[in-house]
Assembly symmetry: C2
Homo-oligomer: 434 residues x 2
């Protein structure tokens, strides 16, 4: 069984060169765990000039992806260019040519996962993407295989290390958002343009993938309610702490009843400090999966970076190498998602606890006004703090946590308070997960 | 692809009937995730009379395991009787007859895992045991597959829910050990004879399995250093808390250098309260896996009980059902352990931080004596507390935490202090993990 598994890599950036480096450095160990050697024949990248920190020779490196896609000897295409196009066309071409695909491309999978899994199955090949969510954490395998016996009820997690680093620093040091972001950028944890991370879009992509796998639905990023972390103030974090919570950017997918609609949402969330997710700090990721019969489980690790991503990519390559007699993922019902099918619960109907921060003129009658607005929309208060910290213009900050309430009601009450003449700024709503 | 996967179950106790129940209750969902139906044809148990809370008919239930082992139609034997014999003979017979085996039997795997995996590979069948460690947590798959690209450096975990429940109650309520144990027994978390759990043997079995998979060595329970939790006193838990630690019964397997010897040990351990393992309370299990390149990862969930165990057993059955074209685990180098090979680091050579509680007559010179004994064995003190709580006979309790030291030196120093005429009881040594 020494026929090599011949691989072609498209995309030779940070992650791609990390993979090439790990494959070379760990060659002996990988060989010992594989029924056949993994051979990286060709690397394609538009940039063939920049020297990468990885062992490769110039003959291996091609400027045209076709050098990988049209090579009949290549059995596996590793796609690491990211983004939708041309990655989508490359992956389709590879699958249609009977090549397996291993990818870390969360945008592509979130948008076209169901379609591509179907195409892979039709062509008797595998589409593996352990690296797309949670870095090296084997969460995709857990959902597709280890937990396959379960009816999932909830998948929720800290899926973006940049945001978790910023929120951890805000929480530990009382830093304002901009300062924590600047620190993350200085350390290389945040991009020069951090929008995609801090506005929650990266988390939404990952949430769509996890939700699709957990609930067997074709859930797309457009189905996910998304709010980022840019409007969180130190006062929110402080009040959350006083109540025993941490604020975490969570990707949440839940289904209360068998066959019912799925909630899919990404937003900063008050999470109990003593809960498994509440304790996850820094750039780490963690995913809670709850199902019947298993109950709650959690998976934790580094969510990004070349090292963790290489671990996930190579686990997929080893899975392909082990399937020497014909690829079983292609026959495996657990690895499919019915294309186009989904049932999403409208965000307005969400029922949970809420945190609302009001910015009000420091006058009498303000509490009565807030109380009346909430009561008028069936929102009842569980706890309230009026902060001594004032804004520079003399306004007061009042934060409340509600009993269980409905999203539409909470938003209507918040808008009503904002519209009053004692309001001194927008109301800021966060959701609470127990 | 509708040929059913025909299964026979040996052992129809709590776990076996839980599995039968889950297979029936979740039939439609399981069918949707499987290329072929799972059919439970025969159940064997010596007790055919007691009515179980599971759907089965009397014709299915046989008193003789041969009704499963010698039925050529049965493709998978699910072994749930536990213990070494006759389980060992049954599993060997099944594998030799070309039947796949799914088992939750940690004792059998800890003692004979390498031999049985070899036998399975030789017969072209699978031996799957996700349920043997960590209940429903897919930790076996993570080690065999998801993390297969890594060189493991450490696997350590809370592997026994009974012990973790007892230690959590001692920590939260200041209960003495006996009282916490009694409570666990009342709640059904501890057996009437709890020895196997509280003395660490169950954890040692699971540690041997995890260590074997992580380091590719045939590590047996006899290779594992084992200490239970029965000697822990409330004062130890209190002092640990003051220093920011929790006391957890950990199963630990570590290898510092590539190709070097492996530490395998089970003992109550001072674990940082803020660490992922330190925060795991109650009956939950959690396993940290650290490797290169992935870094630290953690897996958390219910470690026992029919529900969690069923989830793991069915994930194995689904893996077998998906391998319709011939079983790939039999060809998969990642699923083997070289029989008989191991290199264990002697416990005496362990180097870590230590916690030592001395019980001493309340006289002057005691501190000097302890200090001299430790210094004489190259053990230096990091922190020390003399507790105000006295024992009834007027002895004082003095607890210290050492800098990194060597096990043999620490034990020798402890023995030296015990031998002095101011000693009023045995010295109690715990190990610290940072």
């Amino acid at each position: 069984m020494d026929t090599p598994l011949v691989m072609g890599l498209i995309g030779f950036g940070n992650i791609g060169s990390g993979l090439a480096r790990t494959l070379a450095e760990r060659e002996a160990e990988i060989r010992a765990r594989s029924p056949r050697p993994l051979v990286l024949k060709t690397i394609a990248d538009r940039d063939t000039e920049t020297r990468r920190d990885a062992p490769y020779d110039h003959a291996q490196l091609q400027s045209d992806a076709d050098a990988v896609l049209y090579d009949p000897e290549i059995q596996v295409v590793i796609e690491l260019i990211g983004g939708i196009e041309p990655a989508h066309a490359f992956v389709r071409k590879a699958l249609e040519s009977g090549k397996h695909v291993v990818t870390a491309n969360k945008a592509l999978l979130a948008e076209h996962g169901a379609e591509l899994l179907e195409l892979a199955a039709r062509n008797g090949v595998g589409l593996l993407f352990e690296a797309a969510v949670g870095g090296g954490i084997p969460i995709i395998r857990a959902l597709q295989q280890g937990l396959a016996a379960n009816e999932m009820t909830a998948v929720q997690g800290i899926l973006n290390g940049t945001c978790n680093y910023i929120l951890t620093r805000m929480s530990e040091r009382g830093l304002p958002f901009d300062e924590a972001l600047g620190e993350a950028q200085d350390l290389g944890y945040a991009e020069p343009d951090p929008t995609f991370d801090i506005e929650g879009h990266d988390t939404a992509h990952k949430t769509a993938i996890l939700a699709s796998l957990a609930f067997g639905m074709d859930i797309r990023p457009g189905d996910v309610f998304v709010e980022g972390i840019t409007r969180i103030q130190p006062v929110d974090i402080q009040y959350a702490r006083e109540l025993g919570f941490r604020i975490k950017l969570l990707g949440i997918a839940k289904r209360a009843e068998t066959g019912g609609p799925v909630e899919v949402r990404v937003h900063p969330t008050l999470t109990p400090a003593a809960s498994p997710l509440g304790g996850v700090g820094g750039v780490y990721n963690a995913i809670m999966v709850d199902g019947r019969p298993i109950g709650p489980t959690m998976y934790y690790g580094q969510g990004a970076g070349p090292a963790a991503t290489s671990s996930a990519l190579i686990s997929d390559l080893l899975a392909l190498a082990a399937d020497v007699g014909g690829f079983n993922a292609a026959r495996d019902a657990r690895l499919r998602i019915p294309s186009g099918q989904r049932r999403i619960k409208p965000m307005d109907e969400l029922r949970t606890h809420y945190y609302i921060r009001f910015t009000m003129a420091d006058r009498s009658g303000v509490m009565a006004l807030i109380g009346a607005a909430l009561a008028g929309h069936n929102v009842s208060i569980e706890s309230m703090i009026q902060h001594r910290t004032m804004t520079p213009d003399g306004a007061a900050t009042i934060s409340i946590v509600t009993h269980q309430a409905v999203e539409a009601d909470v938003q209507a009450a918040a808008r009503e308070v904002e519209a009053s003449n004692t309001s001194a700024g927008p109301a800021f709503v966060l959701r609470v997960e127990e």
